[in-house]
Amino acid sequence: MHLDETQIQRLLHGELARAGELAAHEHLERCDACRERVSAAEREEAEVFALLGAVDHRVPAIGAQAIAVRARARGNRRLPWAAGIVVTLGIAGVAYAAPGSPLPRLVSALTAWVQPKPELSARPAPPPSAPASTVAGVAVVPGDRLLIVFTSSQVEGAAHVRLTDSAEVVVRAPSGAATFSSDTNRLVIDNRDGVGSFEIRIPRASPRVEILVDGAPRFLVERGVVASDPAVAVDTPYAISLADRRP
């Protein structure tokens, strides 16, 4: 049995296992044909490898130290980027949270602009009970007295007031219709240029909650009694027009 191509190549390259190498050498001692094939393969390989040297260029004189320096520099290169991102996010956060910052309104306006617009309908718009994703709002625990202030009157729209058994005053509106801010006794609804309707839920147990629109008192409820209009039943939703009443 003669040596095959794989055995010849492995023999040339020292890749035969010990037993296989011994067997190959034993065979070569008595087989002229295989000996000639191995010699030819060796000669041809030497010729090919020598030819490959024709395209060689000088090996650059670089040390391991240079590689280490380059590797360390690569690690440090990302630090300024990371620091820059952190600083930028920090500045943006401060700008957003600063009192009087226009950013929250801009973000709300942008959000409202990006969100899909509701289809036009001939029927009047119902009170805001849209899905949560399109509704904005605020909830506060009323103290002894709470003033809910709409900063402006509107061309259209109303505030639908309902008394509830919950502990919080909740104001909800379509996203982008207004921005909200509050302190201990005051909930401000900045509805400049707004056209939407609002839903306001007031706890029956609230000592006093008053609603002002553009500086004019429109609604007052004291411990579940609508003081501004005693004819209103306590469980009936009360609609306050946000339209401008001034002549």
Binding site: Q9, E15, A41, L51, L52, P60
Partner: protein, 196 residues
């Protein structure tokens, strides 16, 4: 330096530590010493392989260094460091080729196709040597990437195992594929000689 010397580091406690070390920290002294030894032994071979593969010494130097930078940042040795370095360098080489190919397509659209030719030989290079260089380059460029890589890796003395791992071949097939690659090289080279 052979792979056995590098691998032996993995047996001691220091190697166990280096294998868990985050790449961004500077590796410990034991790794750095072994890395330097591996670099000294292997960088010339890797550069020569890439130089012959690409025909561009500057690119070959960049790719070989980049492969070692990646190994240093890794902070520990893989099971077969030489094969790992070859694989990394070849992936980098393929990325370069792909990005060049994309750029060439864009340039072709705007400027029209250009004929590419070998750079002119250096003034001090003899005509015969320049001709041999051109002919061998043409033969190598005409081979498939697998045959060329196989031939060039073996010419640098890489083991069948390293060749199989880095080229994703069955180790048992390396001998036969290598014989075919050498035969393909010889045949093309002789054809180039016979051509007018």
């Amino acid at each position: 330096m052979d792979s056995v010397r590098v691998m032996s580091l993995r047996d001691d406690a220091t190697a166990a530590l280096t294998s868990r070390m985050p790449a961004r920290l500077d590796p410990p002294m034991a790794f750095r010493d072994a890395f330097a030894a591996l670099f000294d032994a292997h960088f010339p071979r890797l550069f020569r392989f890439l130089d012959r593969l690409s025909g561009e010494p500057e690119l070959a130097a960049d790719l070989a260094q980049e492969a070692f930078v990646k190994l240093y940042r890794r902070g520990s040795f893989p099971d077969a460091p030489e094969a790992w370095l070859i694989s990394v360098a070849m992936n980098l080489f393929r990325n370069v080729k792909a990005s060049r190919s994309r750029r060439r397509r864009l340039l072709t659209v705007s400027r029209g196709a250009r004929a590419h030719s070998d750079p002119p030989p250096a003034p001090d290079e003899g005509c015969e040597r320049a001709e041999a260089r051109r002919r061998v380059r043409n033969v190598l460029d005409g081979m498939t990437e697998r045959e060329r890589s196989l031939l060039l890796l073996r010419a640098e003395g890489y083991s069948y195992r390293d060749i199989a791992v880095s080229l994703r071949l069955n180790e048992a097939s390396v001998g036969v594929l290598l014989a075919r690659a050498k035969e393909a090289f010889r045949a093309s080279y002789e054809d180039a000689f016979d051509a007018p």
